[in-house]
Amino acid sequence: MAARLLGRSSRGVFLALVALACVGPVVWVVLSSFKTQSQIFGRGDLLPSPFSLDGYEALFTQIDVTGYLVNTLLYAGGGTAGALAVALLAAYPVARLRFPFRRAVGLLFSAGLAIPIAGLIVPEFVIMRDLGLFDSRAGMVVFYSAMWFPLAFVILRVYLSGLPPSIEEAAALDGARYFQLLRHVILPLARPGLATAGVIIFINVWNDFLFNLLLAPSSEHQNVQVGLALFRGQFTTDIAAILAGTTVMMVIPVAVFVLFQRQVIAGLTAGSSR
């Protein structure tokens, strides 16, 4: 009985320590973003008192946070839509139809997930430049669609191959053509799979740092990650503004995750086991 109690409490301590290491500093930064500069330096309480929006005010007046947020939303929304569209078009035939090199095509796109793209920065830059996509918003949307469609492909292929075979049989009787079938039958059925892949891709594109820095470096094309991280380097004195910026960078993905947690977890499990 005593041993059991000891086991249970050490288990609790372990879980609490890991939780503290995971989110402790993040929570502290979010709380501190509502402090005044002097409170931050004051080595005082963990909680802000009085509650202050000085940091946020300074942040939004000093730099174009709204512009960064609009860019990020455009990249994440456009990149997700592009990746899903391309992936659905490719995943449907690979999952359910018979055609030459079907297996090879499936393997190829799935292999896209195992290629460490961080090793490809120079060629990605050169290709974007040569295609006229370097340092443009449209270019970033195309790039993110390309970078993320393999993940959506893997998730959608698993999902689509789980649908009953009667779908095509009925459609064939109707004499439906390929894209009619895809548009009116498969697309509605694929919605849960699209949601799963979409949420994961949206969060990842929202959080991208390296490729926005590499491929769209001018200030008016930066996303919120790059814009605010570089802002830190320029204004190291206004700590409250930096903490406010850090909080702004985190808020959307956390909100999306809290709302769509089930999709994220289902998608990760499907995406990684293949």
């Binding site: 372990f14 879980l15 890991v18 939780a19 290491a21 995971c22 989110v23 500093p25 993040v26 502290w28 501190s32 569209a85 391309v86 490719a90 035939p93 359910r96 139809l97 018979r98 796109f109 896209g112 195992a114 290629i115 460490p116 961080a118 090793g119 490809l120 920065i121 120079v122 060629p123 990605e124 050169v126 290709i127 993940l151 698993v158 095509e168 064939a172 390929y178 894209f179 994961i200 969060i203 990842n204 959080n207 991208d208 740092f209 390296l210 590499l214 990650q225 991280a229 930096i242 910026g245 850090t246 985190m250 993905p253 994220v264 977890i265 998608g267 990760l268 499990t269 990684s272 086991s273």
Partner: protein, 316 residues
């Protein structure tokens, strides 16, 4: 994921298991109108994959043996690799990447597996705890880097404040001290095992209850069941996690770029940051030699871990 967080856009990388073929495809592409449709349907994916995966792979390999920059390209054979192997910064980057990889495999994965086993007992609040553990994977690597820049700050950071309150030395500049920079950087992500937790929990949930029946009849304790039944059955999932955390550490960029810039004295330089720095210095061929080694390292890790963990063989 940060799904990854797991840092660097946390790419979820699929590895194991051949796709299960449950169903024979029903519709022949040869049906009139279909073949055309299929080809057209695959076209966007083929174009994007070619332009952003296959061509870059070819380019990076070929030009890694060249002197290439904005002004032009000339092939120099294996010169880049010769210089690389005599380059102290490269060895620092390789050593640091190896240290991070070791931290990921020896701390991040075991912590994740332990948490997953505990949460799988459906203890009170397990859902909330899983959300908490996963949050750092949802937050961007850039934001986490800024969080820890503040956390470690010698003047107002929480760490030094806490140490000072405890009467310890609260003045160290953790990220810029050659002795502490590397562990300080590793500590920012090594306990965030959200992805491992989620994947291992899914695997535990898939183990059929009957597997434990005999052990229960024999009166095995819960710890004995975990040790001798659950853990061995997690071989596949743990192997997949090891591959994922290794690929993430090889690509680790955002955190070091923002927190330390690779310093002090290259103590936190990683391979991907080094490739980026060389690209920024217009040494494109040299950056690509680093990139090729990065990719090769990833492939070796995938093959080696798959062998080691016999990924793909099912146990239940």
């Amino acid at each position: 994921m940060s799904l990854a967080g797991l840092q660097d856009g946390a790419r979820v990388t699929p590895v194991a298991r051949a796709p299960a073929r449950r169903r024979r495809p029903r519709l022949e592409a040869a049906t009139p109108g279909m073949g055309h449709g299929v080809a057209l349907s695959l076209l966007p994916a083929v174009l994007l994959f070619g332009a952003f995966f296959l061509v870059p792979l070819g380019v990076v390999v070929v030009t890694s043996s060249s002197d290439w920059g904005p002004l032009g390209l000339s092939f120099t054979g294996l010169e880049n690799y010769r210089i690389l192997f005599a380059d102290a910064a490269f060895w620092s980057a390789l050593r640091n990447t190896a240290s991070f990889a070791a931290a990921a495999v020896l701390i991040q994965v075991p912590v994740g597996v332990a948490v997953a086993i505990i949460l799988s007992r459906r203890i009170r609040g397990w859902r909330l705890l899983r959300t908490i553990y996963f949050l750092p994977n949802i937050v961007s690597g850039a934001a986490l880097a800024l969080v820890y820049v503040t956390f470690y700050n010698p003047r107002y950071g929480l760490l030094n404040q806490a140490l000072g309150t405890l009467g310890l030395d609260g003045t160290r500049d953790w990220l810029f001290d050659v002795d502490t920079a590397l562990p300080a950087v590793a500590a920012t992500w090594v306990f965030t095992a959200g992805l491992v937790i989620v994947l291992v929990m899914a695997e535990i949930a898939a183990i059929p209850e009957e597997v434990y029946d005999a052990a229960r009849v024999d009166g095995a304790t819960r710890w004995e069941q975990t040790r001798h039944i659950t853990l061995p059955l997690l071989r596949n999932a743990i192997g997949v996690c090891v591959i994922l955390v290794l690929l993430f550490t090889f690509a680790y960029f955002d955190g070091v770029y923002i927190m330390t810039g690779g310093g002090p004295a290259d103590r936190t330089l990683t391979l991907s940051l080094y490739a980026f720095q060389e690209y920024s210095n217009s040494n494109w061929g040299y950056a690509n030699a680093v990139g090729v080694l990065l990719i090769a390292l990833g492939l070796v890790a995938i093959v080696a871990v798959r062998r080691l963990f016999r990924i793909g063989e099912r146990d239940f």
